[in-house]
């Protein structure tokens, strides 16, 4: 079952949440950011090239212009490959674990998988920055202390959705985790 809804992030940009329910034990949530806008790209390129042209008229060295083109290209490639995240996905599979994938604009994907044995709980935390923001995070068990928490892993760090979107994801995750806890409690 697939479902698409539109939300907004903490800065006011539009986000699209896609929910896929593959089975009662496997759900996927996919948050998509708005793509790189042509307007901002053109603005940055024009600024850099105008600055380079200004320097060129001062120094009369044509290396500055080629250097500016080189820098713009490298900067754009670096931004697309390392910085701009298009989509963030959370895949939760009962009795296997939770997987978080970030897809960059250049197509690169970086995945982290946390096994269900290490997951203690999924909670929504509050953070006080310049304003109050909410974020979803996964609490990991401490191998030494049974009731302790060893790590807090935040989810959807780049897309930063607002509380309404987080509540939807939180409810679905809790359904699966409750099932997992019931299964692990009974022998």
């Amino acid at each position: 079952m697939e479902d698409e809804q539109s939300f907004s992030d903490i800065c006011g940009g539009r986000l699209a949440l896609q929910r896929r329910y593959y089975s009662p034990s496997c759900r996927e949530f996919c948050l998509s950011c708005p793509r790189l806008s042509l307007r901002s790209l053109t603005a940055v390129t024009c600024t850099v090239w105008l600055a380079a042209y200004g320097l060129f008229t001062l120094c009369e060295n044509s290396m500055i212009l080629s250097a500016a083109i080189f820098i713009t290209l490298l900067g754009l490639l670096g931004y697309l490959h390392f910085v701009k995240i298009d989509q963030e996905t959370l895949l939760i599979i009962d009795s296997l674990g939770i997987q978080m994938t970030s897809s960059y604009a250049s197509g690169k994907e970086s995945t982290t998988f946390i096994e269900m044995g290490k997951v203690k709980d999924v909670v929504i935390n509050e953070a006080i920055y310049m304003k109050v923001i909410y974020y979803l995070c996964i609490l990991l068990k401490d191998p030494v202390e049974p009731h302790g928490i060893s790590q807090v892993v935040p989810v959807f760090q780049s897309t930063k959705p607002r509380l309404d979107c987080l509540i939807e994801v939180y409810r679905s995750c809790q359904e699966i985790l409750a099932h997992q806890k019931a299964a692990s409690a009974s022998p």
Binding site: M1, R20, Y21, Y22, S23, P24, S25, C26, E28, L91, I93, D94, S95, L96, Q99, T101, T111, T112, F113, E115, G117, K118, P143, E175, H179, A182, A183, S186, P187
Partner: protein
């Protein structure tokens, strides 16, 4: 209000559509009456194999079944059990027959069904898996039945299929994020947590993969080798040849190390020169590494094997770069050009130093110096410089020959050539080092005198026994002379301090250049090139973890996932496999360095660990 109610109604409707084929409806009402979820790890190579029995390992803690191979018909059950016992002995992993695999053309092959179910009586296993795939449509169906269980007998469990690439999982090595301190390598039984159990099981069952369905043995198996047995003539030949070659090289290296430790080198002048030259340290380090690589002992763990491979590749690259440098140096008479340029450069540096000293002897930067002390120090350093220049001119006819022979050392490796360069720089700037030592000692003496006379000025004394400052009553003549000396030293301080500052800056410049060269040598020494190459070309070999992908899902069919290997990021590869370097890192922090500079203590940034302090 109306819109929200409409959404809820729509949500409930879609859920009820799925309720009949999946367990969503009844599951929400309470714990599932359908039993637990059984995970079946199935190799992708067996998806096209003919019908047969599933052989693998059942991990009860995670209720997962790791399927390793498919046994084809016809077979004799006793022989299958014998084979499993053999693999159990070889790899210490408990395998069993987990269920049946049915790869049929259409629904029409019904006669196979009861036959397969009958096999459950011969090889009893809890739970008994029944996997089935239709050839034409490629649709899967799975069943897992339990005879005795906590709920009801004959209850069905839900099965989740996880496909994995057997060859990649066999060859890969998991790198957990943090090594647990109490985990021991080489456990008696296969026990690992989570998904590491799957990797462990496949790695320990190598004995199972030796024969496959095309062999003439009693039992015909299908596994990753069925796609083509992996072997390479070059690898086999290299393995055979490596034994005697290692033995020969190990003997040679032991001879060289024995020669190195002989008594002659322990004598005072040679051992002193040995410890000061960085090229000797580098050669010793390389010798140790080569002894490790060519030792006749087999590597105990995969980490040791990686280390050996890294060292070998690093040495080979080093020698290759060294030979390239050598051929560049010896072509077009570059050595001659270098030798010709060396003496004028040394002259130029000496002239610059002379100008500097003349400037210091005058009024440097408008500061007024004490004329007499200034002249004395300036003349002393000028004379020293003059001596140095005469020695360099004396050596100038021999420089080309020396450089030519020293340049031959580049064939031992680029690191050796760079260390030699660093030593040559140290030797050529020896006069700057001497000036620094003179200036530092003078300044240190002055600071010590000033601090103790300052204490006298205030009526205090340093108690050596108690290691603290105590008050003390001085006689009048002691106080008089003390105060006089204090003022003399205080007013001479700017001159000495200026000389010290200038020479310390020059020394720090030389040390910085040497430091850069050492950094480069360290980089070549410690970079794990084999591991980086492996990460680039065979990323599945170094695994940080796994990642899952959900395959096409139809309602009513079991959930299918594809498990792929998540490779280790490059930064972690370098961190995990970096080779130990020479150990010549500076041991001071910035704070202690500044403190030493202020008090005039001598700094030796390249002091080896374990050397005595001067």
């Amino acid at each position: 209000m109306k819109r929200r109610a409409h959404k809820e109604r729509r949500g409930r409707r879609t859920r009820s559509l799925l309720g009949c084929s999946s367990c969503l409806g009844c599951w929400e009402r309470g714990p599932s009456p359908h039993g637990m979820v059984v995970k079946a790890f199935f190799p992708t190579c067996c998806a096209s194999a003919d019908s047969g029995l599933l052989v693998g390992r059942w991990v009860p803690e995670q209720s997962s079944a790791v399927v390793l191979a498919v046994v084809h018909f016809p077979f004799i059950p006793i022989q299958v059990k014998e084979l499993l016992a053999q693999v159990h002995q070889a790899g210490r992993v408990g395998l069993a027959v987990l269920g049946t695999w049915c790869h049929r053309r259409q629904e029409a092959e019904e006669r196979l069904g009861p036959f397969l179910e009958g096999l459950g009586a011969i090889f009893s296993h809890e739970p008994w898996l029944q996997l089935c795939r239709e050839r034409t449509s490629g649709l899967w169906s799975c069943k897992a039945t339990r005879q005795q269980g906590p709920t009801r007998p004959g209850v069905k469990d839900q099965v989740m299929l996880v496909f994995y690439d057997q060859r990649q999982v066999l060859l890969s090595q998991l790198h957990p994020p943090a090594a647990l301190p109490d985990r021991q390598a080489g456990d008696a039984t296969a026990s690992a947590e989570g998904l590491a159990a799957v990797f462990d099981t496949v790695a320990r069952s190598e004995a199972l993969f030796r024969s496959d369905c095309f062999d003439e043995g009693p039992v015909r198996l299908s596994h990753w080798q069925s796609e083509g047995v992996e072997a390479s003539i070059l690898a086999e030949l290299a393995k055979r040849a490596s034994g005697p070659v290692c033995l020969l090289l190990a003997c040679l290296l032991s001879l060289i190390s024995a020669a190195r430790t002989c008594r002659v080198f322990k004598l005072r002048p040679l051992s002193f020169i040995w410890s000061k030259l960085s090229v000797c340290g580098q050669l010793g380090h390389r010798l140790e590494q080569l002894a490790l690589v060519f030792s006749t002992q087999k590597a105990e763990s995969p980490a040791q094997l990686m280390r050996k491979a890294n060292v070998l590749v690093s040495v080979l690259l080093d020698v290759a770069l060294g030979l390239a440098l050598l051929s560049w140096l010896h072509g077009k008479d570059r050595i001659g050009q270098l030798a010709e340029a060396l003496v004028p450069v040394a002259d130029h540096v000496a002239e610059a130093l002379q100008h500097l000293l003349q400037w210091l002897m005058g009024a440097p930067a408008g500061l007024k110096m004490n004329r007499a002390l200034d002249q004395v120090l300036g003349r002393f350093f000028l004379y020293h410089l003059h001596l140095w220049i005469s020695y360099v001119h004396l050596l100038s006819p021999f420089i080309e020959h020396i450089l030519w022979h020293v340049g031959l050392s580049a064939c031992l490796g680029l690191t050796v050539a760079l260390s030699t360069l660093s030593d040559i720089i140290a030797l050529l700037t020896f006069h700057i080092y001497c000036f620094y030592v003179y200036g530092a000692r003078l300044y240190c003496l002055k600071i010590c005198g000033l601090s103790s006379l300052w204490r006298l000025f205030r009526g205090k004394k340093w108690n050596v026994l108690r290691q603290r400052v105590d008050s003390c009553s001085y006689d009048l003549d002691q106080l008089f002379i003390g105060t006089l000396l204090f003022t003399v030293l205080l007013f001479l301080l700017p001159t000495t301090a200026l000389y010290y500052l200038v020479f310390t800056l020059l020394r720090l410049l030389v040390v910085a250049v040497q430091g850069l060269i050492h950094l480069l040598v360290d980089l070549v020494n410690s970079l794990p090139l084999y591991s980086l190459g492996l990460r680039l070309c065979r990323p599945y070999r170094l695994a940080a973890g796994v990642k899952f992908r959900v395959l096409e899902h139809e309602a009513g069919r079991p959930l299918r996932l594809l498990m792929q290997i998540n490779p280790l990021p490059y930064g972690r590869v370098v961190h995990a496999y970096r080779l130990p370097s020479c150990g010549c890192h500076p041991t001071h922090s910035w704070g202690s360095l500044c403190r030493k500079l202020f008090f005039g203590e001598l700094i030796y940034p390249w002091r080896q660990r374990g050397d005595k302090q001067d």
